[in-house]
């Protein structure tokens, strides 16, 4: 145990893992309550396109992914609203075309792209100092932003109409939440990978909803489950020499099913 903690790459991984999973635990509450898990999956796969833009242009892939994901999230909204098609179909279109854009750009990139696997499957153990700082900064911004507008986001989740009558700009808060969702997806990318991020957006919230009696208890449980999954998953990954992204998500899933059994027994 102590041996694990003494290695600097493991310290960094744990530090970033805990912060990022706290963020995804917080965001997960609303992803679950607002039934946004498919849009979460859509945006996270779109991150692949965003990363590829970074590779192609030589810019920082995390930064390009953040902007690209925000654009996709808002694009999904606009296309489903203005185009009068279901949000479901709109997500499907952006989801696939972003992945396709990613594949095209990667094949055009001259740069050696072994790093790509780090984004697809996560590579928390190889996280750089700069990425730690970037994750920390964005996490703080997201957490503070969410807490400032928590009561408005919750009221909109309960009923958009009542929120509007209460003088809340539902459109602005919804855009804000999509931006927060996109940013939290991108900063989770290095932890569990693009393919598995949506698990971190759904499992903690779904587990918390089994027991929560109010918003605060749901946030508390959700963040707890997310952080516990990351910590346990990292130790398992170290012990058994398995990919951390997979072990973190499997740990979260195991916790969910354990909670489900516990709930049924009650």
């Amino acid at each position: 145990m102590i041996e694990i903690l003494s290695s600097s790459f493991m310290q960094k991984a744990l530090f970033v893992g805990i912060i990022v999973s706290f963020v995804s635990g917080l965001v997960s509450v609303f992803v679950v309550l607002r039934k946004m898990s498919f849009i979460g999956a859509g945006i996270s796969h779109a991150a692949f396109g965003g990363v590829a833009i970074g590779f192609f242009t030589g810019l920082n892939p995390v930064i390009t992914a953040i902007f690209y994901c925000i654009a996709v999230a808002l694009g999904i909204e606009v296309v489903s609203r203005k185009g009068k098609i279901s949000e479901d179909a709109s997500i499907g279109i952006f989801f696939a075309s972003s992945m396709a854009l990613g594949i095209v750009l990667i094949s055009l990139s001259k740069e050696y792209t072994v790093d790509l696997f780090g984004y697809l499957f996560g590579n928390i153990l190889a996280i750089t100092h700069g990425e730690v700082l970037l994750s920390l900064f964005t996490a703080v911004v997201v957490i503070v932003g969410m807490l400032l507008f928590l009561k408005e986001i919750f009221l909109i989740t309960y009923s958009e109409e009542i929120a509007r009558v209460s003088g809340i700009s539902v459109k602005a808060i919804n855009i804000f939440f999509l931006v927060v969702l996109s940013v939290s997806i991108v900063i989770s990318m290095k932890i569990v990978g693009i393919i598995l991020i949506s698990a971190l957006l759904v499992i903690p919230g779904a587990t918390a909803q089994l027991f929560a009696r109010n918003l605060y208890s749901m946030i508390f449980i959700s963040c707890g489950i997310a952080m516990l999954s990351t910590i346990l998953g990292l130790f398992l990954s170290y012990e058994f020499d398995i990919a951390p992204g997979g072990s973190i998500v499997l740990t979260a899933a195991a916790l969910f099913f354990a909670a489900l059994v516990l709930k049924k027994r009650q």
Binding site: V165, S166, G167, R213
Partner: protein
């Protein structure tokens, strides 16, 4: 003071007239019932007053201001929508729901304090459901949810209370108590109450005014006058006997004979 002033207002959705030539003026502290068949535009009229739907033509003023300006302030209206589906495991307790009614008053970037809790509890007590405060809202019965939602609508200390089919989920016996309670609240707080309902017979004894709406107003004024056969036919068409078969309409028959 004039609470609502509407002149020649029309609303269309996809080329169809939902509301046509609506003119209405309502003083503060009055209780008006908007009755009419389902699909007759009652909900749309309420949403126009709330500033949620923009009219195609005509004017509407709430306390002399445009509804969209009133909407931004967030503390004039208490609103009970017709359908509010909350899942049984949605993590919100009764007290949290009522507290939401104060968010418009509290405003952005501020947190509810002790006074807000106190006011919320007061509203729950008024509706006779204070003992439910720690229950999950989604697990209550329809009638209990309705009472809690009205407590929520009252918690923001509104000047106008807008209720869309509030008796949904409440049994016929409970409805009488319920309307009685509303009447009491109106008097106590000098509230302007606008209530949409499709059961004309049940509300006539409680409201001060009635407006019969089927895309346009077929009658406006004293509640008893609305029970005229011609008005009823304009409102509900030939299927008027469908309404007469219920207990509630036995009562409207009685009222008509008196």
């Amino acid at each position: 003071m004039r609470a609502i002033e509407i002149n020649n207002l029309s609303v269309t959705f996809n080329g169809k007239d939902v509301l046509k030539d609506i003119t209405l003026s309502l003083d503060e502290g009055r209780f008006i019932g908007i009755v009419g068949p389902n699909g007759g535009g009652k909900t749309t009229l309420l949403r126009v007053i709330l500033g949620l739907v923009k009219p195609l033509s005509g004017q509407i003023y709430v306390f002399g201001k445009l509804p969209e300006d009133i909407l931004k302030t967030g503390n004039i209206f208490g609103y009970l929508p017709q359908i509010l589906k909350v899942e049984p495991n949605f993590p919100v307790r009764v007290i949290d729901v009522v507290m939401m009614g104060r968010y418009g008053k509290i405003g952005m970037l501020r947190w509810p304090g002790g006074k807000d809790v106190e006011k919320s509890m007061e509203c729950l007590s008024m509706m006779g459901v204070a003992d439910l405060k720690d229950m999950l809202y989604g697990q209550l019965s329809g009638g209990q949810q309705q009472r809690v939602s009205i407590a929520r609508a009252l918690a923001g200390e509104p000047r106008i209370l807008i209720l869309d089919e509030p008796s949904t989920g409440i049994d016929v016996v409970g409805q009488e108590d319920f309307y009685h309670l509303l009447k009491g609240l109106q008097k106590k707080f000098n509230l302007t109450v606008i209530m949409a309902s499709h059961d004309i017979g049940a509300i006539t004894t409680y409201v001060d005014e009635i407006a019969c709406l089927n895309h346009t107003f077929h009658y406006q004024g004293n509640p008893l006058g609305a029970l005229d056969e011609k008005v009823m036919t304009n409102l509900y068409g030939k299927n008027v006997d469908v309404l007469m078969h219920t207990d509630i309409c036995d009562k409207c028959e009685r009222l008509r004979r008196e």
